[in-house]
Every structure is written in C-alpha cells, then in structure tokens.
C-alpha cells in the first residue's frame, strides 16, 4: 500500500540544510494499522505529509498503491489525496465558516459527487461517529472530541483506503482520546489501512505494529542505542512529575 525506500527530505534555509528524513524505509501493507512513534522533531509529521502527498521529497522512492508518485503533477496528486487518502490532524482542521454537514461535504464536492449521493454519505459517516444530530452546528459550538469525530467523519465520507492521522488524540483528554482510538480501530476492522503518528505509548501499543523514528530514520527498537536513550529520558520525565 505504502512503500518508501531510501527516502530523504531536506529543508533548506539560507543558512542550514535540515535532513528531516534520511534513508527512510517503511513498508505498510494493505489493511495494516501502524503506529509511528518517536521523539519530537524526529520527522514523524514530515513522513506523514510526504505519505499523504501534501509535500514532495528530496530523494529516494515512494510507491503509493503501486504507483511511484514523484512524477505525478499537482492535479493528479490532488485527485489521489481526494480519492484514496483520508487525513486526521492533531488540530482537527475543520473549516470554521462551515457547519458540520458542509465540512464533511468538502472532499465530496471536490470529487464532483452528485448531491443526493453526497448527502447520503455525509449522514452515514456522521451517524458513524455519533454526531448526526449536530449536522447544523458550527465547529466552534462543539467540544474538542466532537470536532475530532467530525474530522474523522470527513475523512471517512470519501471511503479512503488509507487513513493518515497525525497525533489525532494529542489535543484531547484521556477519555476522548480512547473513544477516538476505538473509532479508528473499528474503521481498521472494516478494511482501511491506517498510519497513526502518536507519542502516547499506550495508544501505540494498541496498533498492530509500531514503527519508531529517530533523527529522520526508522530504527530497529531492540538494537538502536538511541531508542534506549529515549526510553530512559521518557521514564525520567514521567518519574519527575
């Protein structure tokens, strides 16, 4: 489904070159639920934006659903984002000017779907996240957990095969985080491939597979000294509280 080999991403500013990803290798199979963990600044978001075709990369190869994406033009990338990928962001990213119904409709309109079909899908996915009764509400009138569920409904409405989530529970309290995760697990059981970035080990543990990223590279947890250093750090921080 999602395969990156020797992929690199360099951010250039006038003074420095930052390798956000270097020799990054990952292979996510169709139907997998993968959690990506790693310290802050390690390149998790960068990986996800490249995986979601929000950004281009500097070197290496990326095959999405069997297609090498680096030669696709902007319109083709937009079309793939629209049809194959669902995004869930840490900051929810609902459009504040639109009510819940219109928010969920956004990707469906860009797909050029007929009104009746759109309506059916919107109501289905809102029911799915338990917010059908809030269709006319504006994002500002909803709690964080509700907003994230609307965002999930928006990601689901287009029936994407790949769901990318960047710290989807990062802005939520534990209970809401758990319900959002349950929703993701349910979606996964129905066949979607999910890649979720998180730094919550408890959430990560519930995924089928964990991928750890340090300094822009996927590391083998058992062998890499950097991982043990990181775990020690986290443990210390937790103790300290």
């Amino acid at each position: 489904m999602l395969k990156m080999t020797h992929l690199s991403k360099v951010y250039r500013t006038e003074v420095v070159e930052t390798y956000a990803l270097r020799d990054f290798n990952i292979d996510v199979k169709e139907g997998e639920f993968v959690a990506v963990t790693g310290p802050s600044g390690s390149g998790k978001t960068t990986f996800l934006t490249i995986a979601g075709l929000l950004e281009t990369f500097t070197g290496g190869e990326y095959h999405l659903d069997g297609v090498e994406v680096s030669h696709l033009n902007d319109n083709a990338r937009s079309k793939i984002r629209n049809e194959k990928i669902g995004f869930i962001f840490q900051a929810f990213n609902l459009i504040p000017d639109l009510n819940v119904f219109d928010n969920v409709e956004v990707p469906l309109r860009y797909r050029g779907m007929k009104s009746a079909e759109r309506k059916k899908r919107i109501m289905e996915s809102l029911e799915r996240v338990g917010l059908a009764s809030r269709a006319k509400h504006y994002p500002a009138e909803l709690s964080g957990g509700q907003q994230q569920r609307v965002a999930i409904a928006r990601a689901l409405a287009g029936s994407p095969r790949l769901l990318l989530a960047d710290e989807p529970t990062g802005n939520l309290d534990t209970q809401m985080a758990r319900s959002v995760l349950e929703l993701l697990e349910e979606i996964h059981r129905e066949g979607a491939t999910i890649v979720m970035v998180t730094h919550d080990p408890e959430l990560a543990a519930r995924a089928q597979r964990n991928v750890h990223v340090i300094d822009g590279q996927v590391v083998d947890l058992a062998e890499d000294p950097r991982f043990h250093a990181h775990v020690a750090q986290v443990a210390e921080a937790t103790h300290g509280r």
Partner: protein, 410 residues
Amino acid sequence: MMQIKPILAALKRHKAGTILIALQIALTLAIVCNALFIIQQRVDRLSRPTGMIETDLMAIQNRWVGIDDEATAPLVKADIQILRSLPGVEDAVSTNSFPLRGGGWSMGVRLNPTAKKPITQTTLYFVDDHALPTMGAKLIAGRNFRADEVVTIDPKVFESSPVVIITKALADKVFPDGSALGKQIYITEGAPSSTVIGIVERLQVPWNGNFANKFEGNSTLLPIQLSGNFSAYLIRSKPGQLASVLKAAPAALFKANRMRVIPSERGVRTYADVREQAYKSDRGMAILMGIICVVLLAITAAGIVGLTSFWVGQRRKQIGVRRALGATKHDILSYFLTENLLIGIGGVVVGAMLAVGMNLWLMQQFEMARLSPVYVIAGVIVLLLLGQGAVLAPAMRAARVSPVEATRSV
C-alpha cells in the same frame, strides 16, 4: 460553480466585509453609470457641427465709443469694406451674433400672425448677402440674399423682413411636409410676414446651454444690418492665412477709426477659440466626471484587492486543508473568483437600482435626460470584470498555498 452554496454559507459568517464591498460596488456602479451618461451627453453636445466651415474663420467683436447708435451704420459699412479688401481675406460679414457666441436674438415663429403660442423658437442673424459664403453655410434650396435686399434698421423699431433664409431644422419643424421654400412665416407677433427664399443645411444658434437644446438648429438669416453700438464681424481668410489676418484685421480697423473698443478678451478670436471657450464648461464637466469614474473604480478595485488579500491571509490554514482534502489549485482559484462574483452580483443588483434612482433625482433637479439602460448594462459588466480582475492576484496567491499548510500546527 459547484461551490456556490458553501461559498454563500461561508460569506454569511463574514457579513461586515461582504456588505461593505457589495455596497462599495453598488455606489460605484450608480455614480459611474450616471457620470458616463453625463460624459456622453457632453461629448455629444460638443461634437455637434455648427453648420459653418470652421477652419480659416475668425470673429471680431467691436463696440463703438462716443458715437450715437444711429450713426454707426456707415462706420460698420466702412469696416466691412476694409476687411474684405485686406490681402488674405476671402470674405467678411457684419452680424449681431454667430453660432456659439453665447448671446443673440431669439423669437417665436408662427404661421398664424395672431396665434398666442409660437410653433417654435428661432434665433435671428442680422446679416447681408455675404453671410453664407463667409460662414461656409450650405444653401440646399432657394437662393441667397441679393445686395439690393439689404437694409439698415434701428433695432428698436425692427419688426420683420420681407425675405428670410432659414435652416432646414426650422423649416422641417414649421413645415413638416417639406414645403417651406416660398412660404410665409411670422417672426414677430402681429408683424408683416416674411417669405422663405432659401434653406441652409444647418446653422447652430448662439447658445449651447440646456435651455437651447430644443431649438439648437433653428436659425433665421435676415438681410438687415442693425444700427447700434455693438457689431460682430465674421471673417473668412484665404486658406492657411488665418494667423496673419488675425493680426492684420484689428490693426486695419483701428487705423481706419479709433472710436472703438475691441476687448482684449474675446475681442479677436479664431473660430477654434470660440468653440473652445463655448464648450469649456462641458469639457471640464466631462473631464471631472471621467476623473471621478477612474478614482472610484480604482478605490473599489483597491478595496476588493485589500479585502480578498486579508481573507486569503486569514484562511491560509483552511486553504491548506481544502488542498489536503483534494482541492486542485484551480478549485481554490475558482473559489475566490466565484466568491467575488457573488458579492459583485449582489453589489450590481443594488447598484443598478441606485443608478436609476440617482438618474431620476438628477432629472428632477438638473433637467437630465433619462439614463439609457445601455449605461447600466455597461456599468454592470465593467464592475463585474473589475472585481474579477482585482481578485485575480490574491486568488492566485491563495491557489499557491501549499497543502502542507494544513499540518502546520496553529
């Protein structure tokens, strides 16, 4: 176009900016329509022909000083002889007034000498048989005056002339069937009739204000030299010799007789100057209106650019989100163009009504003509295009917002 409903929904959440721009568009449309209409009217007016050949033509205005009104006739005759014999002069005529001079005689024209109301108004040009060649007016029927028909009359006792030459506009008004030549008309209530012996194609009246609009082409030429303190001379130079005649003519007149004043202003003018000065306020008005239009359109365009730029800046995140959710660059561009078009349509609908309302008010206050719908339609198109043009740059900036903007936290 498929985005109209959500765009309207989003605009509802930005009422203040939306209404402000729509109102600005409406006001601009109303003012620009009326201003363009006024400009067109003024331009129409100042491009009317006088009926004379205006090149190689000049005018002198002369006032006698220290001479009885009754004694001026021979002096005028002498002046005219001097002018006609100047080298470089083709012909010259003495007249009470001439087209665009600004002042002159006006009388009512009747077919029945005792009718209470005249059929129409006419100006009277008191001239001689040299008027038509000097003016370059075109005789289209009948004949010119003969020298022996010309008489001198005291304006205080003037009633009518046995023969007159009238313009086609006047002839058609009084004799709609086209039979004016040889007919009798009355130019003074209860006075003897005048026979129409000639018809000229066109000769404008001395006035160019609104009040003369209805009879601006109704002129009557009479073979009469009025005695009096004032006389105007029209002089046609030989081709290309106007500049030298302009100097030589007044010099020759002063040399013959110093008992006169030729005002330094408007005393000696080429006819081009006469026209220029007559239409000065019309041209000024047209230019002023043009400036107002340009300024208003520029302000409105700037307002649209400003508001859209602000909105684009404010919505970077949601543009990124839309891109992440599958919007193409073109979708984003068309979002902002459509949004502007919707605001623009709201503005021009209100503006068209305002334009008509403003015109009705101007009609009441300043005798304006009724605004032609063409101006409203043209104004609507101009403003909608202006809006789309103004929104283009910010919209293109919006289309360049990267989808990665969606992932940047806050």
